[in-house]
Amino acid sequence: MAALVLVFVQINMATANQIRLAVTSSFHNSGLSDYLLPHIENDLKFEVHLLVVGTGQAIKLGENGDVDAILVHSKPDEEEFVKAGFAKHRRQIMFNEYVILGPSSDPAQIKLSNNLLEAFKRLSTANTNFVSRGDLSGTHKKEIEIWEKIHFKPEKIGAQYISVGSSMGKAINIAVAFDAYILSDKATWLNHKNKGHLVIQFEGDQLLHNQYSFLPISKNVHFHVKSKLVEELEKWLVSGKAKKLINSYMVQNEKVFTFNAN
Amino acid sequence: MFPLSISRVEISVKSKKLLGPINLVINEKGITVVLGANGSGKTTLLEALHGLRKLSRGKLEWSVPNSQAAQQQSFVFQSPIMLRRSVIENLIYPLIVRRISKSIAVEEAKLWAQKIGLENKMSQQAPLLSGGEMQAVAVARALITKPKMLFLDEPTASLDGLAKKTIEEILIIAAKGGTKIIMSTHDLGQAKRLANDIIYLHKGILESHGPKEDFLNAPPSDAARQFLAGDIVI
C-alpha cells in the first residue's frame, strides 16, 4: 500500500513544470484557449493545464487551492474573492459580448427592440420558451442582473422558463431543442456546432459587456501555488503579443474578443 | 491413533434427535460395515466420526489428539464431490494440500488413475464423468494420501455392477494394506462380501456391533430381523 502511494506521488512530482488554471466553459467554448495555449506553452516553456468548469466551481477550486489561478467573468464574485484574500488582485484581460439567441421566426419580436431592457420586457410577456443557465455562472448572474433592472421575477413566466443548471454549450443544446430564447456569450455561440433554428436576435447593448479577468491565487492562503509561473502567465496575458493574438482571433469571420488589459 | 472411543454421543438438530446416545469403540483392523434402514442415522454417524458434525452431547476420542487424527482420515461422500478440474487435478489435490511437490503428486495420481481404469481420461473434466467414474475418482482421491481411516457413505449406491466390483476390489486391497474402513451400505450382499464386523442402526440408536457372522445368524432385534429379511423397516 505504501509502495503504491509512493508511486503515485512520484508521478506527480514529475509535474513540477506545470500550472493549473480554472477557466469558465464560456471562455473555453469560444476556442480561444485552444488558440492561445500553444503560444503560451511555447513562449513560457511550461504547461498550462486547463480545467473547464462552471464559474461557481472555478471559484471553489480557487478557494480550495486546487488550482493556481482562475479566469472568470463575474465581477461581483471576483471582488469578493479578492476581499476574502484568496487572490491579491484581479486583472482584466479582455471582454466580449453577450447576445440574445432566439428562434429565427422571433415570436417575441425582440429584434426590433431599442435597447436590452425593452428586449427583456418583451421576453417577459411573450408566450415563448426561455432557457436560463440556472447555475449562478457569470452568464447566469448577468441574466439575473437584467431581470432585476426591469423589476421582473422570471419565475413568473412559469413552465416556459427553463432553468437547466448546465454549461453554456449544453444550455444552447437545450434551447435548440425547445426552440427557446437564451442569453449566451457570443464566442460560445459562434463556435457552437449545433445551432438548430436559433439565430442572434439581439446584441450590442452596453449592458451586454462581458469582462474576463485573471485572478492568481495568493500564496498567503495556499503556499503550494506556483506563484512564479503564474506571474509569468499573467504578464504574458497582458502583453502586446497576447493583445495581438486575442484581437485577431476570429470565429466564422467575426472578431470574438477585445483585449482590454492595461 | 486407534482405538476410537465414542462415549454417549448424541446429535440433535433443532431439538430433533438424529443420533444417539451412542457408545462405541472402533479398532484398527478390517472393514466395518454400518447397516440400517434409510433415515436410521448412518450418514450422521459417519460424518460425526469423521468430525464433520458438531456433537450435541458426548465425546469422541482417538488415542492421539483429534487434530492429528484428522490428518490420517479420508471421507467418500454418497454423491461424489468433484472439483471442477480434470481427473488428474482432482487426484493430486489432497497431496498438494499437504505441500507434496507437484511432480511427485502427479506420479502418484497416474498410478491411481490406472488402478481405477481412467488412465485415458486423466485430462478430462471430472464433473463430466459418469457417476461410477466420479465415485471411482473420489475413492482414489481418498486413498491417495494413504489414510489410516477411510469412511465411505454408501459409495456404490447408484453404480452398475462393473463399477461396484472395481470399487469393492480397491477397498479390499486398501484394507489389506492397513487402512481401517468404515462404510455404510444398503446392499446386504455387499455387506456380506466385505464386512469383518457390522454396526446396526435403528432410528439413531446403536442396536449392535459385532462380528459379521454374529449379526447375520442372530440378529439383535425385530427391526434387524426385518432388515435382513428384506422387509421394509418402520
Partner: protein
C-alpha cells in the same frame, strides 16, 4: 438519424487515420480503467472468498452492505474523492487531484463493490458444493480461498468484464476528480461530454462508437483467450 450515420463515418476515418489525439485518449481510458480493475480484483476477489469461507457474526450484514454499495452513484464517489484529495482536504498533500491517479482511485472505489458482489455470489454457490470435501481434506483457510478463486475463474472473469464495463463508460466521477484536462486527464467519456456541450454531436458519436468498439473488443478478447464458450460446462 443523420447524425448517427455521420458519427459512424467519422469514427471510421478517425480510426483508419490513426488520429493521434484519438489514440492518446483511448489509451488513457484503457489505462485508467484497467489499472482500477487490477487494483479492484486484488482487493475484491480474496475479500469475497474470505467472506464465503469464514463464519462471523455480522456476515449477513456485510454481504448486504456489499451488495448495496453496487448502487453507489459514481458522481457521488467522484465528489467524495475530490473532497478528500483536494488541497484543502485530508490527503491534499499528495497532490493527486486532476491526475490519472485520482481517476484510478475513484474508479477503483466504484468498481470494487460490483466485482466483489458478483464474485461472492458465485463463490458462495461453489462453496456450498465444495464445503464438506475441503473440510474433510483438512485444507487451511488460505487454501480454501485459493481453491475457490481458481475454480471460479470463469465467473471471476465475468465479474471483471462487468467491472470493466462499468469503468470504461463512467464519466461523472472522473470528470470531477480528473478535470478533463487536455493532454493530461481527458479520456473517451469526458471527451464525448465535451463535444456534446460544444454541439458537435457527430464527433461525440464518433468517439462513442470508438468507445463501444473498445469495450466489445476487450470482451471478445477475454472470452477468446479464456476459451469460455467452448466445450465443457462453464
Amino acid at each position: 438519424m443523420n447524425e448517427i450515420l455521420q458519427g459512424l463515418v467519422q469514427a471510421f476515418w478517425l480510426v483508419i487515420s490513426l488520429d493521434t489525439e484519438l489514440i492518446a485518449i483511448s489509451l488513457r481510458s484503457l489505462y485508467v480503467t484497467l489499472t482500477a480493475l487490477l487494483i479492484s480484483t486484488l482487493v475484491a476477489f480474496p475479500l469475497a472468498a474470505l467472506i464465503v469461507v469464514t463464519r462471523f457474526r455480522f456476515r449477513r450484514v456485510v454481504i448486504a452492505i456489499l451488495n448495496a454499495l453496487m448502487g453507489l452513484p459514481p458522481v457521488v464517489v467522484g465528489l467524495l474523492v475530490y473532497i478528500i484529495f483536494s488541497r484543502s482536504g485530508p490527503l491534499g498533500v499528495l497532490g493527486l487531484l486532476y491526475t490519472t491517479s485520482a481517476m484510478i482511485i475513484a474508479q477503483t472505489v466504484i468498481i470494487t463493490p460490483l466485482i466483489a458482489s458478483v464474485a461472492h455470489q458465485s463463490m458462495r454457490e461453489l462453496w456450498a458444493d465444495y464445503r464438506d470435501l475441503l473440510i474433510s481434506i483438512n485444507t487451511s483457510k488460505p487454501q480454501r480461498i485459493g481453491t475457490l478463486m481458481w475454480d471460479s475463474k470463469r465467473a471471476l472473469i465475468t465479474a471483471c468484464l462487468a467491472g470493466f464495463g462499468r469503468g470504461i463508460g463512467e464519466v461523472g466521477a472522473i470528470m470531477i476528480v480528473g478535470g478533463n484536462i487536455d493532454n493530461a486527464t481527458r479520456v473517451l467519456t469526458t471527451a464525448i461530454s465535451l463535444e456534446t456541450s460544444r454541439g458537435d454531436f457527430s464527433l461525440a458519436l464518433a468517439l462513442g462508437f470508438v468507445l463501444i468498439s473498445l469495450a466489445l473488443s476487450v470482451s471478445f478478447a477475454t472470452h477468446w483467450f479464456g476459451k469460455t464458450e467452448r466445450g465443457g460446462l462453464w
